[in-house]
């Protein structure tokens, strides 16, 4: 019965067919017929800086979790190029819908690492004001915000606004019915939405073959919109392809599925133990395609940057990590009473009654003090 998991040779990481790459694993610029990218040294350095920052902050958050300061953390290591490339393609007016691992995209939207950490410290189930950053709260229920994103995009379309929507999904999410419905709706209404699929090869312990026998980007074809597979460890390719897809959406040509072919270098979350289900050799193979290494090689080789600059970025990132740590340690939970604050926007007698019950029970002071 379980015949899956054997095949899908096309999925082998070195297959270059239909695979957009602009910067090779060894740091050389490559051209692609459909995706040109003019990028200045400063822009490239900016991308490098972003990636180093989010990686450093990710390490810090992981260690904060180990020290009991966060309830959980979902590390992004390995996916920096996918997230920074896509995140930097967004315009301020665009609206994005993340999953729980999209700290890199949040970073691009201007959300601080500390804000990203709030839900992992469980002082909130949110983290920031979505309208301030045009970035929704993550959805933890796999796949169910994709159709929300399409609805939002239909609203953008209805407004006649020239902006686009991006929603992040994973290789595992591709099996959820809600994703398929979002594809149907996006196609039928030609909604200005980009589906950013980070195929990081694992859905917790399950390899991509458990979700599909064929490459995932091909899924879009059957719904009537383009799918494209990109080297997800190549920040240039991610930037170029996402920009093109967003532009396409903005001009009314409908949705695109971008499959960022990448790898989750770390555990699924800090609760996970990947040694139970995957071999070290696989991880090592992907180390050699590291997104940050390759951009650094490129920057040094093209003399866009020198070693001193690289070190300065590391130092900057250390500062960001320290800032995150300080912020997390001084982050308090909501007061017990605040759980009643935003159940509804309008008055609600039962909520009022239960709020009063709590106060009667534990006293106004305790009810009102931060946890």
């Amino acid at each position: 019965m379980v015949r899956a998991g054997r095949g899908t040779r096309e999925d082998a990481p070195d297959a270059q067919v239909d695979f957009v790459q602009l910067l090779s694993p060894t740091g050389e610029r490559v051209e692609h017929k459909d995706y040109a990218l003019e990028i200045s040294a400063d822009e490239a350095k900016g991308l490098y800086r972003d990636m180093v920052h989010v990686r450093r902050v990710d390490v810090e958050a992981t260690s904060l979790q180990r020290q009991g300061q966060l309830a959980l953390w979902a590390p992004l290591r390995g996916q920096e190029a996918a997230q920074i490339g896509a995140g930097r393609a967004l315009e301020p007016d665009d609206f994005s819908f993340p999953g729980y691992r999209e700290h890199g995209i949040a970073w691009c939207r201007g959300i601080s690492p500390a804000q990203s950490a709030r839900s992992f410290r469980q002082v909130t189930n949110g983290g920031w004001d979505p309208y301030e950053f045009n970035h929704a709260e993550p959805s933890i229920v796999i796949g169910n915000n994709a159709i929300n994103a399409v609805g939002y995009a239909m609203g953008v379309q209805h407004d006649g606004a020239e902006s686009a929507v991006m929603v992040c999904i994973g290789d595992g999410a591709m099996s959820q019915g809600d994703i398929a419905e979002s594809f149907v709706w996006a196609a039928v209404f030609q909604a200005p939405v980009v589906f950013l699929l980070q195929n990081n090869h694992w859905a917790i312990s399950e390899p991509t073959e458990r979700q599909s026998r064929i490459p995932l980007y091909k899924r879009a074809d059957g719904f009537g919109f383009p799918g494209v597979r990109v080297d997800g460890n190549d920040v240039f390719a991610m930037l170029a392809v996402t920009r093109a897809a967003l532009a396409r959406a903005r001009e009314g040509s409908g949705p695109t599925l971008i499959e960022a072919f990448t790898y989750r270098m770390g555990a699924h979350t800090t609760s996970d133990d990947p040694t139970r289900y995957r071999i070290l050799a696989e991880v090592e193979e992907w180390e050699r395609k590291d997104p940050i290494d390759r951009l650094r090689t490129y920057l040094l080789a093209t003399k866009a940057a020198d070693q001193a600059w690289v070190e300065s970025i590391d130092a900057e990132a250390d500062v960001a990590a320290r800032e995150l740590r300080d912020a997390v340690l001084s982050m308090f939970g909501p007061s017990p009473i605040s759980i009643f604050d935003h159940v509804y926007q309008e008055p609600h007698p039962l909520v009022d009654e239960e709020r009063a019950e709590m106060v009667a029970l534990i006293g106004a002071e305790e009810a009102g003090s931060l946890k």
């Binding site: 949110g126 159709i147 609805g151 019915g177 709706w185």
Partner: protein, 324 residues
């Protein structure tokens, strides 16, 4: 004051809201040219266009999920689920997104949307077309759940639901769609979340909502013949509950019977009974009794009469209440 069917009254309420607020959009299956299988959206696409009355792909998760996104963008989507039995594919969207986004975002996002669902049985339909899923929604904090029982309420409650900043599950008693009543367009009868005393009485209180209100009124008339004076309360809002109105009545009558079509076990009648027992413990001459669907899937409709709360079952419960 004009006489209208419930279906038409809701149609006109929708029309008025669409006229008043360009952010109001309708979406659902077959709501456009067809006007919905019950014609509740009849004529609206013709008058407001395909951009505001959207025939959607066939998928309830999609309908509710897209509504969530539209609401986030500042629209007021009113979706239609074609029948009660087809709302379950949207359950995750309702529980995990619609009900929780406002809290999750610490108040930044409002889920200003309405999900209209024709519900309940009594129309001789086939399977999945006679369900009463209100208890699932009422148990879900973050949702509001209401049901009109008269054309006047249909007209006003849909307008009020659309104006409400919170998400409202709007349950339309489909077996009453074609019943007529006066609609007073000058002013709403009351707030959306208040109960209405439909008949005053002194000996027992019948509490209900939606399709069963009429049955309760019929039972009250029948009981009058037997010398019992029943008070009939139409809850109108199932969540939140207007407990005060029921308490006031039970303090007077000392007896409470709750009726709904949904199965009694784990139904909203249990909540009303439990809450009223707590609030009116010393006023009660008998335990609150419940009359409703049995703990079975909704049966083939040839036998639905025996499944639904009917006058006989209400009077039997009344007798039992008087035996205590």
């Amino acid at each position: 004051m004009t006489e209208r069917t419930l279906a038409k009254a809701i149609n006109e309420g929708l029309r008025k809201s669409m006229e008043d607020n360009p952010k109001v959009l309708l979406l659902g299956e077959d709501i456009g040219k067809l006007g919905g299988v019950f014609r509740v959206t009849d004529g609206l696409q013709k008058d407001f266009g395909e951009l505001r009355v959207i025939d959607s792909p066939l998928g309830e998760a999609g309908i509710v999920g897209a509504s969530v996104g539209l609401a986030m963008r500042g629209y007021r989507p009113i979706s239609e689920i074609q029948f009660d039995g087809f709302v379950y594919p949207a359950f995750d969207q309702l529980v995990s997104q619609v009900a929780k986004q406002h809290a999750r975002s610490e108040g930044a996002i409002t889920m200003t949307l309405v999900v209209r669902i024709p519900f309940g049985g009594g129309i001789g339909a086939v399977e999945h077309h006679s369900e009463s899923p209100e208890a699932y929604f009422a148990h879900t904090a973050g949702l509001r759940v209401v049901s009109p029982s008269t054309p006047n309420d249909g007209y006003w409650m849909i307008r009020q639901a659309i104006e409400c900043a919170d998400p409202v599950i709007f349950l339309e008693p489909k077996c009453r769609y074609w019943e007529k009543g006066e609609v007073d367009e000058t002013a709403p009868p009351s707030s959306l979340f208040s109960a209405a005393v439909r008949r005053t009485g002194t000996d027992a209180t019948l509490v209900s909502y939606g399709p069963s209100v009429k049955t309760c009124l019929a039972a009250a008339t029948a009981a009058e013949g037997e010398g019992r004076s029943l008070e009939v309360i139409d809850l109108r809002s199932i969540s939140p509950l207007d407990v005060a109105t029921v308490v006031a009545s039970v303090e007077k009558t000392g007896r409470l019977i709750v009726a709904h079509e949904a199965p009694v076990f784990g139904g909203i009648g249990a909540e009303i009974a439990a809450r009223l027992t707590e609030r009116c413990f010393y006023s009660l001459s008998a335990p609150p009794l419940r009359v409703g669907g049995y703990h079975t899937p909704y049966p083939p409709s040839r036998v639905e009469e025996d499944y639904l709360p009917n006058v006989d079952r209400l009077l039997d419960a009344l007798d039992r209440a008087f035996e205590f």
